[in-house]
């Protein structure tokens, strides 16, 4: 089975970061491989281990994304592709999907294309569906387990999280899947894996390699704003009535009641 996992380097929001001029200031933030994508890689590796196959990871992003790609290689993926794009967050979701689709074509397609459920920084979770649309492939969201594989009919049986409950479905490859947490803790890269990954050659493609023009792509116009500082107002509670009146005025002023 040929499996591709689309991954992304995200801002580490568990660490301090700063937004300036509507963008995340790279000097004042650190990035990590999207934790949800780690689950997708884990799922891909488990599928490859159970049914045979190779796992390739692709990312669209700056040189910083190489860390994530190498992490994936260290976890055990066989190949990594870096589509170089200086400002991936500025790409509209649809364009990102187009870029990834072009990259998958260049790799001569795949049986399974996996995504993490969402990105940990912007949390839209829309890319897998957009990709499936652009790539004209059946999409199954929130997959939590692979239950069986019928090689002769190329049918995969899997469990996915439906609206309210889990459902089991069977579908013919190729498929686009978004993966949730249920495949288990992503494996910790071994030292030997990291050592190999450090030395691995990662092909770098740019848009023209994929037959795309940068003018084909529309910027998202996304502008980030730092949350306004929270202010604390101290209300003296000695007289409950005046305190209640004061709270009422504040809530009115904020348009909350």
């Amino acid at each position: 089975m040929k499996i591709i996992v689309c991954i992304k380097q995200v801002v580490d929001i568990t660490n301090h970061f700063r937004i300036s001029n509507g963008e995340i200031d790279p000097d004042q933030s650190s990035t990590i491989l999207n934790p949800w994508d780690e689950f997708a890689i884990e799922a891909a590796l488990q599928i490859a281990e159970s049914y045979g196959g190779e796992v390739t990871v692709i990312t669209v992003g700056t040189m910083d994304s190489q860390t994530g790609l190498r992490h994936a290689l260290a976890m055990g993926c066989q190949q990594a592709i870096h589509v170089v794009e200086e400002n991936p967050d500025q790409l509209a979701g649809l364009d990102l999907a187009k870029t990834l689709s072009a990259a998958v074509y260049k790799l001569e397609g795949a049986d399974l294309i996996l995504f993490g459920k969402q990105s940990a920084d912007f949390e839209y979770g829309i890319l897998p569906a957009l990709f499936a649309q652009v790539h004209s492939t059946l999409f199954i969201p929130f997959v939590s387990a692979i239950d069986g594989w019928d090689a002769s009919n190329q049918m995969l049986t899997l469990t996915h999280q439906g609206h309210s409950e889990k459902q089991q479905v069977s579908a013919k490859l190729p498929l686009v899947l978004s993966i949730n947490k249920d495949f288990g803790e992503p494996r910790f890269p071994s030292f030997m894996g990291s050592r190999k990954a450090k030395k691995a050659e990662i092909p770098q493609w740019n848009l023209s390699d994929l037959g795309l023009e940068s003018t084909d792509l529309i910027p998202s116009g996304l502008e980030l704003k730092a949350e306004p500082q929270k202010t604390l107002t101290w209300i003296d509670g000695t007289n409950p009535e005046t305190a209640a009146a004061e709270i009422k005025t504040i809530l009115h002023k904020e348009g909350l009641i």
Partner: protein
């Protein structure tokens, strides 16, 4: 007095024994050559020191077990003297006229006689100790895996060797006494007394022949039997001192070249992956169990026994002794044959085993080599270490807290950073614990106050500081340690003239001794040393203290490993605090249980816990406070105290001193 036939037989037997011995020497060489690396080239001063201090005076044995050591000393001296005795005895058998004359001859006979007595007495003591008193010091708890060959081997060997020594020395003494039946010799009091007891009126030639042959045969059997018994330590102990370089500290590790791209196997989990010195260790081991006696996890009832490790190594190697070329075919791993993985992970890397071992063995070094193999080559290690490694890689500290928060502990205090004071006299390496751990932060605050009070020029690195990598290294992840070391050195090299002070013995040790491998030459001081210096220079004005006594726990990496024993004690004394010593103190300190990465994982299964044992020892001193000088010790004892009925405060020396400072700095 030997007939020609007897001489001929004797000559043949000596030659056979000699040829066999040469063969065994060759086998040893082949076995040891399976080890990695090369042995240290012996240097004359070290050889001289070894012969005099370690061989003749048995210096390393005297820290424990006085009576046993005294008996052993007699055997060693007796044995050394018997080398001459046997040589001259055999020479006189061939050439009866060659007798040592005059005073030399007299003294020679006197010593031979007296030592025979001492040896027989001492051997009796050892026999009684092993079989009559069944000394518990010689036992390994039954649940600790010992190779079947080791179990039977130790017993068989002890019986055989004791009998051979008895027979050899006893027969010689009797032989001499028989020679003296007609005219006693004042220079051989023991043999002369015996000769009178026998009551023979004529020289009993037949009996004399019998005992003389017994004397010779036992020694001729003994020598080639040596390699099969633990008594080969006679040879290997001196070799073990001579062929090892002087280690910088007892916890020094094998150097691992991570830049070497050809390396595919890291650390050791098979004999041929171990360094050659580990082979010497196995044959030098006298199975005295001293290392086990001082091993905290052993005392707490875990599966770890450093003695079992060496003994199993020895007996596993012995299977290959007669066909040493085949050792490389041995596919069994060390974790199967020699030490179970659980025991490997129970070690606190406290160094007590290596420190106490009288024959210069280094069980800890083996354990850390095995850990390296498990983590680096096999990717098998306790699960919680994943978090530790992730935190170290991502946030450069074991707590996984943002690097930006490194100076939070100093909020509200005036603690200058290197940006504010770029040329400090003292560069304070706060350490990750000091920066992120609640309890250790209190030590940091105290130290900041002491520094401010002393009005010296100092600075902290703030965000420039990251973990020294000690926990990564002691748990086997040399690569993470290596990265951290290089990064830290890049930072530290910007302050070449500053004296580095640390509030953590592990940082202290790593910066001072382990970064040397990467070319560092840092001037490092532990905060207890600096505080003591301040007290001596009258930079600190101390209040009259309370009268309640304090006990002080030596952190392993400050005390035993780096020999900093006195400064914290002197500081306490100078500030008028009365100190009551723990029963195990200074170099004999008993680990808190956090070292070797234990801080970051659950305990391996054991009957009790190292920190609880030590805390109880502190309570036994009746002290009102347990002082220490390490953030990890503080955590371990505070935890122990919290689950104990009787609670005494656990404080860092810096905290104790700061409470004595008259007025706090502004």
């Amino acid at each position: 007095m030997f007939s020609l036939i007897e001489k001929l037989i004797l000559f043949i037997l000596i030659s056979l024994s000699f040829i066999l011995t040469l063969k065994w020497i060759r086998h040893f060489k082949i076995l040891i050559q399976h080890g990695k690396g090369s042995l240290h080239k012996p240097i004359i001063p070290l050889i001289a020191k070894t012969i005099f201090l370690d061989l003749v005076l048995l210096k390393p044995t005297w820290r424990k077990r006085f009576i046993t050591n005294l008996s052993h000393l007699f055997i060693v001296w007796g044995f050394l003297f018997y080398l001459f005795v046997n040589f001259f005895d055999i020479l006189t058998l061939f050439f009866p006229n060659l007798v040592l004359q005059g005073l030399i001859g007299n003294l020679f006979r006197l010593f031979a006689d007296v030592f025979s007595g001492f040896i027989l007495l001492s051997i009796s003591y050892f026999v009684l100790r092993r079989w009559l008193w069944k000394s518990p010091a010689l036992k390994i708890r039954p649940e600790i895996p010992l190779l079947p060959s080791a179990k039977t081997g130790i017993k068989r060997d002890s019986i055989l060797v004791a009998s051979l020594i008895f027979l050899h020395v006893g027969s010689r003494l009797i032989g001499e006494s028989l020679r003296l039946v007609q005219h006693t010799d004042p220079w051989q009091p023991l043999a002369s007394s015996l000769s009178i007891i026998w009551g023979f009126s004529v020289f009993p030639a037949g009996l004399w022949h019998l005992f003389t042959w017994l004397t010779i045969l036992t020694i001729l059997v003994f020598i080639p039997y040596f390699p099969f018994s633990k008594h080969i330590h006679l040879i290997f102990t001196p070799l073990n001192f001579i062929f090892k370089p002087e280690r910088k500290t007892i916890t020094e590790l094998e150097h691992l070249d991570l830049e070497d791209e050809t390396l595919e196997i890291f650390g050791a989990n098979q004999f041929d992956q171990l360094p050659k010195t580990a082979f010497l260790d196995a044959y030098a081991c006298i199975m005295c169990m001293r290392c086990q006696e001082v091993c905290p996890p052993y005392q707490a009832g875990s599966l770890l026994s450093p003695a079992a490790l060496e003994i199993n190594k020895r007996y596993a190697l012995q299977e290959f002794f007669t066909k040493p070329e085949t050792l490389g075919l041995n596919q069994d791993t060390l974790t199967v044959q020699v030490i179970p993985e659980e025991a490997v992970w129970a070690c606190t890397a406290c160094g007590a085993c290596t420190d106490i071992c009288p024959v210069n063995n280094e069980p800890l070094r083996d354990i850390l080599e095995i850990r390296r193999h498990l983590t680096l080559t096999q990717n098998e290690f306790p699960k919680p270490f994943e978090i530790l490694y992730k935190n170290l890689e991502r946030q450069t500290n074991p707590w996984g807290l943002p690097q930006k928060d490194r100076l939070r502990w100093a909020d509200g205090l005036s603690v200058p950073t290197v940006e504010e004071n770029p040329t400090p006299d003292y560069l304070w390496w706060v350490g990750c614990a000091g920066a992120f751990d609640n309890r250790a932060q209190k030590t940091s605050v105290a130290m900041a106050k002491i520094l401010n009070h002393s009005q010296v020029s100092y600075a902290v690195l703030g965000e420039l500081e990251s973990c020294t990598g000690d926990s990564a290294r002691r748990t086997g992840r040399e690569d993470i340690f290596y990265e951290m070391a290089l990064n830290n050195l890049e930072v530290l090299n910007q302050f070449p003239s500053a004296k580095i002070i640390t509030t953590c013995p592990h940082c202290y040790h790593t910066l001072k001794n382990e970064y040397v491998e990467f070319g560092a030459n840092l001037d490092v001081m532990h905060h207890t040393e600096l505080i003591q210096q301040f007290v001596q220079e009258n930079k600190l004005t101390l209040n009259t203290p309370s009268s309640s006594p304090v006990t002080y726990h030596d952190p392993c990496y400050l005390g035993r490993v780096n020999q900093v024993f006195d400064p914290p004690r002197e500081t306490l004394q100078d500030s008028g605090i009365s100190l009551t010593e723990l029963s195990q103190n200074k170099a004999n300190t008993f680990c808190c249980g956090a070292g070797g990465g234990q801080m970051w994982k659950e305990n391996e299964p054991s009957q009790s816990q190292v920190n609880h044992i030590r805390y109880q020892q502190a309570l036994n001193t009746q002290a009102a406070c347990l002082a220490t000088a390490c953030p990890f010790c503080k955590t371990m004892f505070s935890d122990a105290a919290a689950s104990h009925k009787q609670q005494i405060p656990v404080l860092d020396i810096a905290e104790l001193i700061v409470s004595q400072i008259e007025k706090e700095p502004l």
